[in-house]
Amino acid sequence: MSEECELKYTDFKSDLSVRWCAGCGDHAILNAVQKAMANLKVEPHNVAVISGIGCSSRFPYYMNTYGFHTIHGRASAVASGVKVANPNLKVWQITGDGDALAIGGNHFIHLIRRNIDINVILFNNQIYGLTKGQYSPTSKRGFISKTSPYGTVEDPFRPGELTLGARGQFFARTIDKEIKLSIEVMEEAARHKGTSIVEVLQNCVIYNDKTHEAITDKKYKADRTIILQHGEKMIFGVDNDKGLVMDGMDIKTVTIGQDGYTLDDILVHDAYTHHGAMHRKLSNMDFPELPVALGVIRSVKDNVYDVSVEQQLVDVQAKTSITTFEEMVNSGDVWEVE
């Protein structure tokens, strides 16, 4: 990668006018990504933004970087090819709950399993927006939509759980309108070596308005979400008096100073531990039982596919006696006719 340089977020804006609906959560996410990229100081020409199909997948057109709006579900695969071909590039993948978790589910889990150094921004609005309102693989059981007029009879994927199940080493969550948190999380995702999944709870103003409102609304947010920070106590609430503790195998919410709980009892977040059990519990926390976890839930160093591919080339080439095409075709069973 080229040297770091001073960049403004406007350096990442293309001259195309943005064509998402007014009030769509995508606008805020675009803003956050551009600001995160400026902070990361990677020049726009070394950035590739790859998307699949869906509302969010129009994203690359609005970025003044290299961009590829591919086909439905396949962004993970195309992005993998870009990164493996040129590991010096910073590769971002923009995808939605349908693109990544339904039609592209296979590529999504294998990207994570391989741990290719790609930053995936997963817009989760629990609906198919571009096709105008059908339920998605993250829609809750019973969700009513055009293709589930009597309610769905299936349970949703939880992106965090799926990521961890696929051996994911980085998972974070943020909310579209929380731009400051989004920037922080995206920067950390980008600095993480390996596949990083950032789930953004995004609002589809037309087909699934206020789907996350129960937790994202200003009135409730402090009590219904918790921002996790590595090494910090898991405390939340308007008055910062609530905390998370273990209760047998489960996590529960307590109020500090009540029922005999003190600050010392509250769990400390360890995002860097290899053990996934706690990360899974944290990523699965849901309203109303528990606060929804935001911030970086898991960030673990591991082997990175694209790095290993390069290393293997170096290792083999250091040992081989075959270095040219001519040597290759003349190796093995060859005879000469005089």
């Binding site: 293309s14 020049e43 870009v82 095409f325 093995g332």
Partner: protein, 617 residues
Amino acid sequence: MMGRSSKVIERDEVVVRFSGDSGDGMQLTGTLFSNTSAVFGNDISTFPDYPAEIRAPQGTIGGVSGFQVHFGHSEVFTPGDYADVLVAMNPAALKANAKWVKHGGTIIIDVDAFDAKNLEKAGYKTDDPITEDKLGDYHIIKAPITNLTKESLKDMGLDNKSILRSKNMYALGLVYWLFNRPMEHTTNYIKKKFAKNPLIVEANLKVLREGYNYGVIIQAVTPSYHINPAAIAKGKYRNINGNIATAWGLIAASKKANLELFLGSYPITPATEILQELSLRKDMGVKVFQAEDEIAGICTAIGASFAGDLAVTSTSGPGLALKGEAIGLAVIAELPLVIVNVQRGGPSTGLPTKTEQSDLMQALYGRNGESPCVVMAASSPINCFEYAFYAAKIAVEHMTPVILLTDGFLANGTQTWKIPDLADYPEIKAKRVAPEDEATWMPYQRDPETYVRSWVKVGTPGLMHRIGGLEKDEKTGGVSYDGENHERMVKYREAKIKYIENNIPEQDILGEPESDLLVVGWGGTFGHLFTAVEELSEEGVHVALAHFNYINPLPKNAHAVLKRYKKILVCELNLGQFANYLRMNYPDIQYRQFNKMQGLPFSVVELKEQFKKLLEE
């Protein structure tokens, strides 16, 4: 070698077929024999014929694995229709292959395997398969191969399984005697292959020698064959099959283009060997991505192409179907990409290990929208190298996906290959943005003559741009829903492919150009068609042959060539896909068809018959 007292048959060419249970090691036996013949100086062509099951029930016809080699004093173009010599390691092998032996040929059987149980499994109704199959006129060598192998190895301390595994070497030794071949090549191979297990080396070499000596013992009653070496051009040679040749052709192209080679692929018979060979070639800097499925195979390749690599995906028919949407993406994005499709019998899973030419229409039209791409076909195991090279050259220089069709017959068949000098191959030059044009450059600006846009590698400063699967503005590449722009883009993409006819060779006519009959073929049937035409020519029957390697676009002179002939017979291993393609392109011409769909190549005999019949009409 010892002197011979038996009758020696002088021949220009001979076909040998090895057959046995799929665990009997017939592929290895056949390969060792072929390589020995090639090193001896014969031209060779081979073809393996094996079941889809890794180990079908032992002793049954379904489990028979065969390997045929044709070698000769002059050039050979096919593995041969009928065998002069058949090795049958059990009754099922005899039952399945007796019909492929020339009348009066030699059949070596392992008589120990012909017990009541095996005879029954093979479907024989009596205990005399020779009479039952009417093989009385054939020269049958009943060798007790199993027992002699056991006897030979009994004191070596090997387990029974290892002993039985060596019996193919006994058979091979016997065949070496039959053709008076040196065993040095095989000896060296065994020593190298089992270097870590000296006991196995010793056992195999012992059995090989004793097989040869068995021939010496029976020679008084058995004729042997003598085939002189071919008159071959000076140079270095090796044997190579179509899949390896394809892989190497792609590597050659990456060297000539000065581009990193990237393969995104998923294992599928009979294309897997391309993936395996390129995985091995880290010494050549090849990056291989074994994807989670066929779609990811091509999509990673498309990503790599966007990033600036020479990108390839390899597959067979069902995989090509899965890749269809992504090929369309490469068509509209106008990125270079090579798609190698090693055809097999279809539809669906069909006949995975058998050859067919039934993916032509899929390659030409199997996508949504007006989605033209280059379609070309290799026509011999060794020219897979050349056509893989040119597929890559066309893809890079014309910014288009290219589908290269080979087939199971070419992929697994081997021929003797004169090792090429890369210096004899042309440069591959991508269209790049010149520094002085950077300020005004637009992503979908085209060369006015070729309609080719520039290829900008991701990472190039100052030329950031966005591409995608949505229709784009004809200059800027920005999304455009304008109907007139769309129509122009559809036509540009079509014209870009059509222009390539200027950069490919004209269609030539082989055989006897002055004839009433033109035989038309394409792809993997070349060897059989050409041999049939040549043999007829020797018999004084004149037939012309136009064998196509470039299908979209067709060579510029294709229509003129076809127009010259009174009768045209299009021969292909499908229901007539190329014939229909020609009817569509050149409707003013009458086409007759000869088609075969048995998972096998044409036989020269059946082709000659057809040609003669048509000439007499």
